[in-house]
Amino acid sequence: MFADHLQKDLHTGAVEKKPTRNGYGEGLLEAGKRDERVVALCCDLTESTKTDAFANAFPKRFVQVGVAEQNLASVGSGMAAMGKIPFISSYAMFSPGRNWEQIRTTIAYNEANVKIVGAHAGVSVGPDGATHQAIEDIAIMRAIPTMVVIAPADVHEAYKMTLAVAEYIGPVYFRLGRSNTPVVTTPESPFTIGKAEQMYFRNESLEKKVGIVSTGSLLYNSLMAAVALEKQGIGTSVLHMATIKPLDGAMLEKFATEHGALVTVEEHQIIGGLGSAVAEYLSEARPTKIARIGVHDRFGQSGEPDELIAHYGMDIPSIVSAAQKLI
């Protein structure tokens, strides 16, 4: 059973698709209207990171840094030191991919209130190929002390997240996707930094059961996998963890206890991402059998987003199959 705040037609498979980056662009513009301390910096990718609406509305609060991601991070830190709330955006492969140390030292260690926006995350970037497909960003950002890491599911969640991030005090990294992503949530769906939301509730009359833990744009595939598994007589729930750090451990532990076995789903390497975070937490709190869906220690390649998601084993049949094997 879908959570009641989700889109109404999900059970039919009919779904609207929009890039999550659009939600960020609209959220940033709104955050800029609400708080004049919000500023935006970008590395020659203003349109494709959807920073352009803010830049057009507030030209004096926008800094075009040029193709210089290391500078981007530290200039953002400097602006935060003077009371600004900088959103620094580029492709995730370049920020935080190229400027990790600047983010660690000049933002996180400095306690600078900077928001790091990694667009074009995941293999669903598509035709640009592996050089532009960030699938290690969650791992490298999660390892930085104090850093909050978020992967919103869709355009609505990205919008709400952007506003929440603007109000949160401290460094935050969030990743966005390039391609059209199924719109699963609604403006009414809850979003709180650090809080997991159960998006699908298993049929408790079924004896067999499994839990799916998803993050980012693969929430839709996770939900569809849950529907398919239920048709096969496996009661399946989906817990969406948009915030990967801090991990909602209490909710995760409860979910693991209820379901016994979990499949984690993310558009990221299985090394260091959501699957790792869940496994790390539960191995200490409540040892649980876990199968991890994600990229298995490989690089991406050119292709259409759906082809790549299937090729790297993150499509609906792959999730279903992993769940079947697990129980």
């Binding site: 290391q70 400097g78 600047q102």
Partner: protein, 297 residues
């Protein structure tokens, strides 16, 4: 620009030498750390903290203060020693440098010690942060009289990020930004001319749309004039290349790149054995003009 009387120049020179003595003492006690850069920059830091900067050691968060951003964090002994003598914290605390629990980390950490503007150590990111601060200030207060001083090393100029930051500063015409480069000609592996030649440096900076001055980094009056001129430059950021002598003040350590990353007691032994390095350095500093009186009183 602030005019310096002959008495003030003399007083600053004497103060710089007292700071050098503290640097030797704290590095010796720490048993690790950098010697050449801190000694070489003692005059620049003294002039800044005892004359040029708008600041208040008793109110380090004063909003209208100038900002001093140390990019080459490894020369922090000179920053700490100058701050202590300027009144930010007790001079005795200098002897906790690099020890467990100390506010004086091996490389500076902003949130540990009031008065530090940034944490630094990894090279090349200070100018970027100063640029960010200067940009934010222009948004916050277009009629601001704050200046943003960023101090960098010369070996540090090998970092690509430096040039990214300079490009942006030039583009944005940040006349509230003053970069001071410690041009001491050495880095860990040797002389900068051998590790990675930087010249022609004046022309490089000019081509990045900076106003550039090159001065003797041990001449208080020349430094003061350069800072005054940099403050008066309009429509362009400024760079002052301060030519300094590494380990300045201790003649047996001077100009030797092997003193870059060693404290007294662990430096090269060609001229002074380890167990006498601190003693020799202090003895030498105390015989320099103006300092005997300060020590004896």
């Amino acid at each position: 620009m602030r005019y310096l009387s002959p008495e003030e120049v003399h007083s600053l020179e004497r103060q710089a030498n007292i700071i050098r003595q503290s640097i030797i003492e704290m590095l010796t006690e720490a048993g690790s750390g950098h010697t050449a850069g801190p000694l070489g920059m003692a005059d620049v830091f003294t002039l800044l903290y005892f004359s040029a900067l708008k600041h208040d050691p008793k109110n380090p968060d004063w909003e209208d203060r100038d900002r001093l951003i140390l990019s080459n964090g490894h020369i922090c002994p000179v920053l700490y020693a100058t701050m202590a003598h300027a009144g930010y914290f007790p001079v005795a605390e200098l002897l906790t440098l690099r020890k467990f629990g100390s506010r004086l980390q091996g490389h500076p950490h902003r949130t540990f010690l009031p008065g530090l503007e940034t944490s630094s150590g990894p090279l090349g990111s200070g100018i970027s942060q100063a640029v960010g601060m200067a940009l934010a200030e222009r948004i916050n207060n277009p009629y601001s009289s704050k200046f943003f001083y960023c101090l960098t090393g010369d070996g540090e100029l090998d970092e690509g990020q430096i040039w990214e930051a300079l490009m942006l500063a030039g583009k944005e015409r940040l006349n509230n930004l003053i970069v001071i480069v410690d041009r001491n000609g050495i880095q860990i592996d040797g002389f900068t001319k051998d590790v990675m030649p930087l010249e022609p440096l004046v022309e490089k900076f000019e081509s990045f749309n900076f106003d550039v001055q090159a001065v003797d980094g041990h001449n208080m009056r020349a430094l003061n004039d350069a800072i005054g001129k940099a403050q008066a430059v309009y429509g362009q950021p400024s760079i002052i290349i301060a030519h300094t002598i590494p380990s300045k003040g201790v003649d047996v350590f001077e100009r030797d790149f092997r003193w870059h990353g060693n404290p007294p007691g662990k430096g090269p032994e060609d001229r002074v054995p380890h167990d006498e390095q601190a003693k020799v350095a202090l003895a030498h500093l105390r015989t320099l003009a103006g300092t005997i009186e300060a020590q004896d009183s």
